[in-house]
């Protein structure tokens, strides 16, 4: 995953590679960094016409003659890694780790045990004077560096041991960025590999865009499928109850037709007119000696109306007769329309109203 992210980020691949360490020094005007020309000149002094290898700057010491830079040339030892854009000497990482250690002010040795072997450096305070390695054994390396130091009259008084750690890709890229002179690959090869890497990065970015597009599309497709599934389940539910819905619709229509038919025949549903009952009710209330001369029954706006003319024997029978008619079931109202003497009796016209039949 990290490699993929590095590729998408266009970051170069950096690896450590075995190399020789040939110690030397370059003197520059006070405060100036060593130029490639100065380093190359120092290399010519050391090895003649051989191709200038990459180098590692070990440390600097200011002297009256200028700034003396201690360095190690790093000719590659063995084939370089094929799948990297930057190959750094292993000694550079060892130097980085040993530089990070704290030590005494005077001359001392810094020793680092690594899977490759033992690295031994000669330090004065925080300045590295020499770096050797990797040695198969620690004692061999220490003895050699002590012997070299003894030739210059230096006696290391302490030994500091560093802790090895495997460099991460970020560490190596940072290291390559701060030490461009240490790349073991030839410049033309670095450019060629860098171009291929850039091609791959562009291609990987396109693929990543397509992958993101495909991911979003597939994700939306999954959501779409889920929504379709929900709808399908509801459609199936609808299909399952469709016969029942059709049956309900049919019954509703049938019921509406039946209601219309009944509405058209509502008159046939009404009970028959019970004129005999109201007539009998009125007849039962006629007092002795009285008689009804005429009776007419007809529908009114609010129900029925009976108009009758009663022949009574005297005036005192009129009101009781009207009162008794009010007790006939269904009679809502009794009105004495007129009353007059007729021969030897009294003739009274009464109107009864009610909601019969």
């Amino acid at each position: 995953m990290d490699q993929l992210l590095d590729l998408l980020g266009g970051l170069p691949r950096v690896a450590l590679s075995p190399s020789h360490l040939l110690n030397g020094e370059v003197t520059t005007p006070y405060g100036q960094d060593p130029s490639p020309e100065a380093v190359e000149a120092a290399w010519r002094d050391l090895s003649g016409d051989r191709i200038l290898p990459p180098w590692i700057l070990l440390g600097r010491r200011d002297t009256p003659n200028g700034t003396v830079w201690r360095l190690s040339w790093c000719p590659p030892r063995g084939p370089l890694p094929a799948s990297v854009e930057v190959a750094l000497p292993e000694g550079l990482w060892a130097l980085e780790l040993l530089t990070g250690e704290s030590g005494p002010e005077g001359w001392h040795l810094r020793i680092l045990a690594s899977p490759l072997g033992t690295w031994v450096g000669l330090w004065e305070g925080a300045r590295c004077e020499r770096l050797h390695g990797p040695h198969p054994s620690e004692s061999g390396g220490v003895d050699r560096v002590r012997a070299i130091a003894a030739r210059t009259g230096v006696v290391p008084t302490a030994e500091i041991r560093g802790v090895w750690s495997v460099p991460s890709g970020q560490d190596l890229r940072a290291l390559a960025g701060s030490h461009p002179e240490s790349d073991l690959l030839p410049t033309t090869e670095s450019v060629r590999r860098g171009g291929i890497r850039a091609d791959h990065a562009a291609f990987a970015r396109i693929l990543a865009i397509l992958a993101a597009f495909a991911t979003v599309t597939v994700g939306l497709g999954l959501v779409q499928a889920a929504a379709w599934s929900l709808r399908r389940s509801q459609d199936i539910r609808l299909e399952s109850v469709q016969p029942l819905l059709d049956r309900v619709a049919s019954l509703r229509k049938s019921r509406a037709v039946l209601r219309d038919s009944i509405w058209m025949r509502k008159d046939a549903l009404a009970p028959n007119a019970a004129v005999d009952r109201i007539l009998a009710g009125i007849a039962r209330k006629i007092p002795d000696g009285a008689s009804l001369q005429a009776l007419a029954l007809e529908r009114s706006d609010s129900g029925w109306r009976v108009r009758t003319e009663a022949s009574l024997s005297d005036w005192n029978q009129v009101q009781p007769f009207a009162q008794s008619l009010r007790a006939v079931p269904g009679v809502a109202k009794v009105v004495i329309a007129s009353q007059a003497r007729s021969g030897s009796g009294i003739s009274a016209v009464l109107e009864l109203e009610g909601t019969w039949p």
Binding site: A201, V248, Q293
Partner: protein, 179 residues
């Protein structure tokens, strides 16, 4: 030996190609594919929600069907009863007269005038007769007890000669009509 960046048209192509690809993909995604997908997704969700709310449960539908069937059965029964009480005849007026005149005659009504007609869904019988009070009550009760629907529209009684009463009666019955 620093890593020198390549230059020229190839570098330009390397830089632009991912952006071009991203632009094309976004155009296709936003305006065609994803738009269609989200539209379909939203339409399906909306339809599913609508169906979930609208489509009733089978148990509720069966209960509804049972209720409607009970209603229909009741209405059918009432309609059959109404049809039985309506006058189903090609000449409803004559049918009503043929049904009531003999009946009243048997009750002692001395019919003096009979007129029957059919109009606007009603068969109407208008008659005049002489009868005593008991015969009138009995005749009216017989009319009330008829299985055919009969309504009294007008009724009057007044004294007549020979101690009888003169009756004017108009009755009507609904005739069969289909909606």
């Amino acid at each position: 030996m620093a890593l020198n960046p390549p230059s020229g048209s190839r570098e330009l192509l390397r830089s632009l190609a991912p952006w071009v690809a991203a632009s094309i993909v976004l155009q296709v995604g936003l305006h065609v594919l994803w738009l269609d997908q989200t539209g379909s997704f939203r339409a399906n969700l909306a339809r599913a929600a609508e169906l979930r709310q609208v489509v009733p449960e089978p148990a509720a539908l069966r209960a509804r069907i049972a209720s409607l069937e009970r209603d229909s059965a009741s209405l059918v029964s009432r309609l059959a009863w109404a049809r039985g009480r309506a006058i189903e005849s090609s000449d409803p007026g004559a049918y009503l007269a043929a049904r009531l005149v003999p009946l009243l005659g048997r009750e002692g009504w001395k019919l003096q005038r009979v007129r029957a007609e059919s109009k606007s869904g009603w068969a109407t019988l208008d008659l005049g007769a002489q009868a005593d009070f008991d015969q009138i009550l009995s005749g009216l009760r017989r009319i009330r007890l008829q299985s055919t629907a009969i309504q009294v529209r007008r009724f009057s009684v007044r004294p007549s000669e020979h101690g009888l009463l003169e009756v004017e009666l108009q009755v009507a019955g609904p005739t069969g009509m289909e909606p």
